[in-house]
């Protein structure tokens, strides 16, 4: 069950002309994004540009006012919520855990969309939980209460929950915030592993160097609309970054890896 999943190669997650209004304000306007199995797509943009809103719409958590999000031929809104939970895992930016569950139990919540109402966890469920904890390097703290962990440990545990869903699409909202450099890299190594298995990752990011290095494509949002969409290299240019973030930036390479370095805010 570690390899590609049946059907994984056939379905694409499409956002078509997605517009979202929150409290009368237009926060997303005619955004198109198609994510193919096997790719990692960065959603970038300044604070308030609509990244989180787009991610929520693509995970089916909010219904767009205009346009639609479809998985293959099926609109997310028409999909059974549990089937949706098996196909798409959503990792919110919010990392509050309300009760002091153990790490293992919390990661196990990722199996809820796979489990029949009263059934005990299956072998598949247990495997998925152990594999996810292993991938995020939290097996050693499996019996600790999540609320007692450091911020970085908690971030990894919450991602392990999403991995335990074994989704075809992972939608992650700024998953590297608060992670130390080593665990940030581990996390993207995991995304790459998922992509090679035929899964896809859609990730909102502020670390543009990580976006340039690991993401196949990038969508740059400004004020809820698309400013640029294409390969990470084509999107992450000084001109785009000046337009989107109001910052003078340099894009260079160190040890053969792309680095995006913001220099100073533009006047």
């Amino acid at each position: 069950m570690t390899g590609a999943i049946p059907g994984a190669m056939t379905e694409t997650l499409h956002a078509r002309g997605v517009g979202v209004r929150l409290g009368g304000r237009r926060v997303l306007d005619k955004v198109d994004l198609s994510v193919e199995p096997g790719e990692i797509v960065a959603v970038i943009g300044a604070n308030g540009a609509g990244k989180s809103t787009l991610l929520r719409a693509m995970a089916g958590l909010i219904a767009p006012a205009e346009g639609a999000v479809t998985l293959g031929e099926c609109a997310l809104a028409d999909l059974d919520v549990r089937a949706r939970g098996r196909a798409i895992a959503y990792l919110p930016q919010e990392r509050t855990v309300h009760w002091p569950l153990t790490v293992r139990r919390l990661v196990g919540l990722g199996r809820l969309p796979h489990r029949a109402r009263v059934a005990a966890p299956s072998v598949d469920d247990r495997d998925a939980v152990e594999e996810a904890m292993d991938a995020m390097d939290v097996t050693a703290i499996a019996e600790r209460a999540v609320t007692e962990l450091s911020g970085g440990e908690r971030a990894r545990v919450l991602l392990a929950r999403a991995l335990a869903q074994r989704p075809r699409f992972l939608v992650a909202d700024e998953p590297t915030t608060g992670l130390d450099p080593a665990h940030g890299l581990t996390l993207f190594a995991q995304f790459v592993r998922m992509a090679t298995q035929g899964r896809a990752v859609i990730v909102a990011l502020h670390d543009l160097s990580l976006a340039a290095r690991y993401c196949h494509r990038a969508l740059l949002l400004k004020d809820g609309a698309t400013l640029a969409l294409g390969t990470a290299r084509a999107v992450l240019t000084p001109r785009h970054l000046a337009q989107a973030y109001g910052v003078r930036a340099t894009v260079t390479e160190i040890e053969g890896r792309p680095v995006v370095l913001p220099i100073e805010p533009l006047p």
């Binding site: 995970a59 919520v81 959503y90 990792l91 855990v97 309300h98 153990t102 919540l109 809820l112 109402r117």
Partner: protein, 336 residues
């Protein structure tokens, strides 16, 4: 921090070793049997003549059954609401349903209906609970979240409380006033099997509804968005919780009056023993609530057999100090 690290596995180990549900079930059964055997007419009623049989079937059995049902309803509903609102201070009264039931019963006494037919008193309570639940539902709106629900519940609760005080204020005579006041204090005395037949189906149905929320409550540990992603329909969940609480707590309050603190204290005490999992807390709290009410009722009969001290007063006397302790504990945990 280092202390907590050492602490955590030990606590979990304990929870794993002790089959908590079994222990709670045993305690509840013991309390139920004690409730059948203990009373002013003598302990045990061995063999028994006609009088003993009448005491057993007409007085003790209904009282024990109602104690178990009412306690289970309060404990279960408290656990569900704490899980749904992700707040350890939530309790069944928060939704305004027990307030509505109390108002309905007081109105039944006030109008004299309760004097005319014994069944009018609990029926009034049920109508009050249903009206309060519908009002909360309407006020909270179609797609609202927990905060709006709490606000609506508090509003309906205050309104029901104000109207109840008005009914007391306008009491037709001192006897009615005393009757209303004593009823409000909450009690299991002088209930018959009719009360059991009236309340039991509603409490069982409401309880069954509440027991189905376990997985959704587990998922809510991660917050509303993650829970939605895990397949939880938040609107359906909220409606199920209001309906389940209206049926179980509404029926419990309609037959036993307002009994406070059980729904707050029981889930709180049991939560660490089930590893803090909302789903596992639900059956545990139902059993714990039943055990607590039955024990308090037996204690009342043993230690103050002829006094007029009401069950609701006893649970409040136990509950309030617990609340203080909770505040001190929270302060210690949050303090420097």
């Amino acid at each position: 921090m280092s202390e907590a690290v050492v602490d955590a596995p030990a606590r979990d180990g304990l929870a794993a070793r002790v089959p908590m549900i079994g222990v709670l079930a045993a305690v509840a059964v013991l309390a139920f049997v004690a409730s059948l055997l203990v009373g002013p007419a003598g302990i045990g009623l061995p063999g028994g003549g006609d009088a003993a049989r009448v005491i057993f079937w007409e007085i003790r059995l209904p009282r024990a059954l109602l104690g178990a049902l009412v306690g289970a309803a309060l404990g279960l509903s408290g656990a569900v609401l704490q899980g749904y609102l992700r707040n350890p201070l939530a309790e069944p009264g928060l939704l305004g349903i027990s307030g509505g039931a109390a108002l309905g019963a007081v109105v039944a006494i006030h109008t004299g209906a309760a004097g005319a037919f014994a069944i009018a008193l609990p029926a009034g309570g049920l109508i009050g609970a249903a009206v309060a639940a519908m009002a909360v539902m309407l006020l909270a709106g179609e797609r609202s979240g927990p905060i709006t629900l709490i606000l609506s519940g508090v509003a309906i609760s205050s309104l029901a409380g104000a109207l109840t005080t008005l009914a007391l204020n306008l009491s037709p005579n001192p006897f009615a006033l005393v009757e209303m006041l004593f009823w409000l204090l909450g009690s299991l005395t002088d209930r018959s099997l009719v009360h059991v037949w009236l309340a039991a189906p509603l409490i069982l149905l409401g309880g069954a509804l509440l027991l189905t929320t376990g997985r959704a409550l587990d998922a809510l540990t991660l917050g509303e968005e993650a829970a939605q992603n895990l397949g939880v329909d938040l609107v359906a969940l909220r409606n199920r919780i209001i309906a389940g609480t209206a049926l179980s707590v509404g029926a419990a309050t309609a037959v036993a009056g307002t009994i406070g603190f059980v729904g707050l204290v029981v889930p709180h005490l049991l939560r660490p023993l089930v590893g803090h999992e909302p789903r596992r807390l639900l059956p545990a709290s139902a059993l714990g609530g039943a055990a607590l009410i039955l024990t308090a009722d037996v204690a009342l009969r043993l230690f103050a057999p002829l006094s007029e001290i009401r069950l609701g007063v006893v649970t409040a006397l136990v509950g309030a100090p617990f609340f203080l302790w909770l505040i001190l504990k929270t302060r210690r945990e949050l303090g420097p």
